[in-house]
Symmetry: C2
Subunit: 335 residues, 2 copies
DNA sequence: GTGAAAGCGCTAACAA
DNA sequence: TTGTTAGCGCTTTCAC
């Protein structure tokens, strides 16, 4: 890489002259500016990012810590973050916590040494289960702002971007009730994380309070055989005429399994799931989905963080929580 | 963030003493080392990464440029890269080219200013279509090593990690021929990228040369309605008794659509697709898949790059190409 | 055993 | 208009 020093030497001027010329300072004579720029162009000079970061004490880099890159929703949020960040001239360093508290802590520690200007993260499952929040607080008190999305730690004071999980399942359930469904089941693979709980509560409210029915809930554990669990559930509960799934897998499997068991979708049974557009294109009939607008969530998180970085306050009293509303997209798996 | 300077001041010693003490230099007295370490611990001192990078002229950071984070295969490779990199103390900066040549160029340019020590990338579709490789060559000649995976540019001299695409479809087709399938179709959504072409050739070889049959090929374009295309294809070609899909979407849709059209899978029709484990769990019957071992690909790419970074040669004559063999995982969508 | 000084590449206040 | 200097945080050589 060419440096200012080399350019200066070749041009027989001082380093600062070169620097100023390249930064269009009006201190420098027109002719000099031209000569400098020409040579810089020729050598494809690019200011060294590391030196700039050191000098200016900011890196224009965001640390992103996500629990699982194979989760489509999280991958999509990452996409949204990357796009928004890159629009503002920020790079992102991605760490994957793998739902582990230790890895989350470690990533936070490792990047809180001047590598990044702030963090965007979704809390790892293990951290949520253990209610571990000290590492977040420590990072913030070190002067590095955090923006949390989706799975957030409520007791940490920072900006947040969340989804209206409760309302989403509440409304979806209401919509199934309006179809005259009598036995609406709730199926979930994410019982122990915050959003999973909220989704169940939304369903419960509609079923218990609004319809006065008994909830029918199937909770699947990570180690269970997903297909078998749902198959036996559907076989046992023959009267179930609608399924709301807390994540895409449960919804897709429920739909396909119902068809395999000879039920007609949506005639005999409706299915709604938190899922993406491509998921709904992968089933037949196309899955009715609750869309979370993952890219928007990512973009919002990036925007909040960049604002906070540029305002220079890693935390204060006016922490914003942005709610990105879900949309219920009716396809062919509901009436 | 605490700096050496602050520690030095507080301890009434010089900066270099503190530095040496923390780096366990045997120049420094035991007692001093103890005192220094204690205070560093207390203040949670971490050496500033940016200053280190500047000093040592290496960042311990890898630039990863992937065409599409929503592609499960690519996301999984990213996962593999991250894990391997982090094992070696490297961070990754992720850029998403979105299949665009310009974004790919830009990301390369933007990070080739000292931000990273090297690149891992999969070539964007647009770059492949236009056979654009100059930007890669320029980066390498700047001293930054590149490792390409999956979609590689053969004319660029660098390390590569690829899949045995040709053999994969060749073997899969042979396996279907062994099932006595008479009309095996090839369905693809990725005709214009290198791996898509290789996959078609493997199929063609088995069909034409080994079985002496006529290829039956359905090529789907990005703008097509995926479901409709496959539906009408299956309706028109009633004799098709097996499908090989070049990517997961086509396979999943073919399977579900066949069932919807009243065919039995695998009795009337077999389906094999390049897809992941979770994809095969989302269909019923479970999809027989060609697994690409994405995580291994990522880990290999990271390993190659880190080796090259540490050997200090951005390119030379002994460029390695590693082939990660696919596996044909037989599930319930084949006989 | 400890410290002073130089230097990584850059910017900016100040001097000329 | 141009150059000198200091300094961002760190390591390392060389003096003491």
């Amino acid at each position: 890489m060419v440096t200012l020093k080399q350019l200066a030497k070749e041009l027989n001027v001082s380093i600062s002259t070169v620097s100023k010329a390249l930064n269009n300072s009006d201190e420098i004579g027109e002719e000099t500016v031209r000569r400098v720029k020409e040579l810089a162009e020729l050598y494809n000079y690019k200011p060294n990012k590391v030196a700039l970061s050191l000098k200016q004490n900011k890196t224009k880099t965001i640390g992103v810590i996500i629990p699982n890159i194979l989760n489509r929703f999280l991958a999509k949020v990452l996409f949204g973050i990357e796009r928004e960040a890159s629009k503002h001239g920020y790079n992102i360093i991605t760490c994957i916590s793998n739902e582990s508290l230790d890895k989350e802590k470690e990533s936070l520690q490792l990047l809180a040494n001047g590598s990044v200007d702030g963090f965007i993260l979704s809390v790892a499952q293990e951290s949520q289960v253990n209610n571990a929040i000290e590492h977040f607080k420590r990072t913030i008190s070190q002067g590095l702002p955090i923006v949390m999305f989706d799975r957030v730690a409520h007791d940490v004071m920072c900006d947040k971007v969340i989804v209206d999980d409760f309302d989403a399942t509440y409304n979806a359930t209401k919509s199934l009730l309006a179809e005259k469904r009598k036995n609406i089941a709730f199926v979930s693979n994410i019982n122990d994380i915050s959003v999973g709980k909220l989704r169940e509560r939304g369903y419960n409210k509609a079923i218990l309070e609004d319809a006065g029915q008994e909830p029918i809930v199937l909770k699947i554990k990570k180690k269970d055989d997903h297909q078998k669990k749902i198959r036996s559930f559907l076989k046992k509960n023959k009267t179930v005429d609608a399924v709301i799934a807390a994540e895409s897998s449960s919804g897709i499997i429920a739909l396909n399994m119902a068809i395999n068991l000879g039920r007609k979708v949506p005639k005999d049974m409706s299915v709604i799931a938190f899922a993406s557009k491509s998921d709904s294109n992968h089933t037949f009939p196309k899955l009715t989905t609750i869309r979370q607008h993952a890219k928007t969530i990512g973009a919002n998180a990036a925007e909040l963080l960049i604002n906070r970085i540029q305002s220079g306050s890693s935390s204060n009293d006016d922490n914003k929580t942005k709610i990105v509303k879900t949309s219920l997209i009716k396809n062919k798996s509901t009436l």
